[in-house]
Amino acid sequence: MIAVLRRLGSTVLVLLGVSLIVFLLLQLVPGDPARAVLGAGATQESLAAVRAQLGLDKPLAVQFLDYLGGLLRGDFGRSLTVNQDVSQLLLPRLENTLVLTGAALLVCLVVGIPLGILAARHQYGLFDRISMFVALAGACVPVYWFGLVLVGVLGLSLDLLPTSGMYNSRNPGGFEDLLAHLVLPAFTAALVPLAVIARMSRSVFVDVLQQDYIRTLRASGLSEASILWRHGLRNALPPIVNIVGLQVGYLLGGVIFVEVVFGWPGLGQQLYTSITQRDLPVVQAGVLFVAVAFVLVNLLADAAVGVLDPRSRRAVRA
């Protein structure tokens, strides 16, 4: 119970720190942020207006408290380029990003973990060597490039799958249309974390299979299936869940590239557009959203480990 409270307390602290860093991002802009936003030809009045809108005319500490207060009220500022509140602009896109990330995560779990387990089962065998080398190479693939290759080969040359957007623009279908549009981006986003999860699942599993209790189970005549998928998986799961939680971070980062390549109308694509337009409030809020999502996912992962592991606290040997 105390451990849970401590964990929650540290999460709050981390979130506070996160908002401070996101706030400070604006201070990192070389020179006058207002000029950076408007460009060299801006008039004094418009500069002053932007400064006032960003709150730059007040002392730093006051600015931060204002910012924090705004966040708590759900006010993330106003876009400088689109006449819209940032939250209005970003929330629907966040939803789209979560759809894509969720689908990619599903691919990672369904393919990555079993791959790692099978490799561990045949440790040093041919399957292990080949699949783990491929996974290492997969972990090195530039996502944006892989996306382009898929667009080129499967989309443009073979015309198998849609390569852009979430729905067919002329004839938007329902769930099926969404699924078809999801395939390429989800697989692209999943590639690197999948490879990492496979490699780490393998090493966790190799470790588990060497434990004394596995030998006890074998000596009790249990089937390999039960040893692998019941006892092995059950014991490997807590560290694997932690690993997956951390890999969601890479997924959330990589999704930015994927959304740009596949024209997926999510947070990442908006972030990209706003960066090019130097729409700093949108960039700030976008970064904040993703970071908060990542922190919450890891909180969830820790909670899951607490539930999964009867000893509740076990060193993560990943």
Binding site: L20, A139, L148, P193, R199, I256, I275, A318
Partner: protein, 316 residues
């Protein structure tokens, strides 16, 4: 996130602090009973065929980039519009030409300089900083150490790629700013590895033994601890170089990295994206493959290093 966790927000494949040499070094005044640790490691590395091949590939790429002015047949920035988008195998242009009629091979060679520098320089600069922070936090276990680790926890809340993009975006494009952005992004990851290894090593019996035999703190730090932490960090840094090649090129791809028309593998990939619709795949494919091969080489070298620095796998 608790402290025992390995910094695995990364696609890097050496996320846990790797197994490192923990052989007690010979006491001062006694001749070493066996060859030096470095020599043993080099020997072990040389036996690892995969790692040696990866090192050779990497050296080849580095040398080719260094000697780009001599090797590149054409200018990396000036194009010949009449040959625009000619494919692989065009006479005089073995790797073809891009959308502006520039020679892909020449851009690849010149681009290597930026792409490698942007990835490797930050790792080299952050290395001593992270080492110091990790040692201080891990060895003293005091308020300063606590503070350092709390700060790093906050930075860990940002996915690596996102933090790099955000920093690069606010700092503005350009070689120096990208290096700065990547450097800041790297600090928590590298410091965490230094910290974890330090804590692990301090808890081990040989440190206890050294203490009991009257070693001073300075002796202990320099002779026992630092070599082990450096080894661990070295393995991790090598892997990180591979990852940073991909990330740095990604920043350029998004337009927050190196500024065009400066050649860079990420920019070349991004250039290729725009001509993909014209059915020309080579412009995007070639630089992407190079990034992949270089990143993979760094990872394989990192794996080889990890094994080579593990005394259980060394043989005299």
């Amino acid at each position: 996130m608790n402290e025992t966790e390995a910094p695995t927000g990364l696609p890097a494949t050496a996320p846990t602090a790797p197994e490192v040499a923990r052989v007690p070094r010979p006491r001062r005044g006694q001749p070493p009973a066996r060859p030096s640790r470095t020599r043993l490691a080099v020997r072990a590395f040389a036996r690892d065929r995969v790692a040696v091949v990866a090192l050779a590939v990497l050296l080849l790429v580095v040398l080719a980039s260094l000697f780009a002015p001599l090797l590149a047949p054409f200018s990396p920035t000036a194009g010949d519009a009449s040959l625009r988008l000619q494919g692989i195998g065009t006479p005089g242009h073995p790797l073809g030409l891009d959308g502006q009629g520039r020679d892909v091979l020449s851009r690849l060679l010149w681009g290597g300089r930026n792409s490698l520098a942007v990835a490797v320089v930050p790792v080299l600069v952050v290395f001593p900083i992270a080492l110091l922070a990790g040692l201080v936090a891990g060895y003293t276990r005091g308020h300063l150490g606590d503070l350092i680790m709390r700060l790093l926890d906050v930075l860990f809340a940002f996915p690596l790629v996102l933090l790099a993009i955000a920093l690069a975006a606010v700092l503005g494009a350009g070689l120096g700013n990208v290096m700065l952005a990547i450097g800041i992004t790297l600090i928590p990851y590298m410091a965490r590895v230094a910290y974890t290894t330090t804590v692990q090593e301090v808890g081990k019996e040989y440190v206890e033994a050294a203490r009991a035999s009257g070693a001073t703190t300075r002796d202990l730090l320099l002779r026992e601890l630092v070599p082990n932490v450096v080894s661990a960090l070295l393995v991790y840094a090598t892997t990180l170089c591979g990852l940073m090649i991909v990330v740095a090129a990604g920043l350029s791809f998004l337009g927050v990295g190196v500024i065009p028309p400066t050649p860079d593998w990420g920019i070349m990939t991004s250039d290729g994206a725009s001509v993909l619709l014209e059915g020309k795949f080579h412009v995007a494919t070639i630089p992407g493959l190079v990034i992949l091969v270089v990143a993979l080489s760094f990872n394989l070298i990192g794996d080889g290093l990890r094994d080579a620095l593990d005394p259980r796998k060394q043989t005299t």
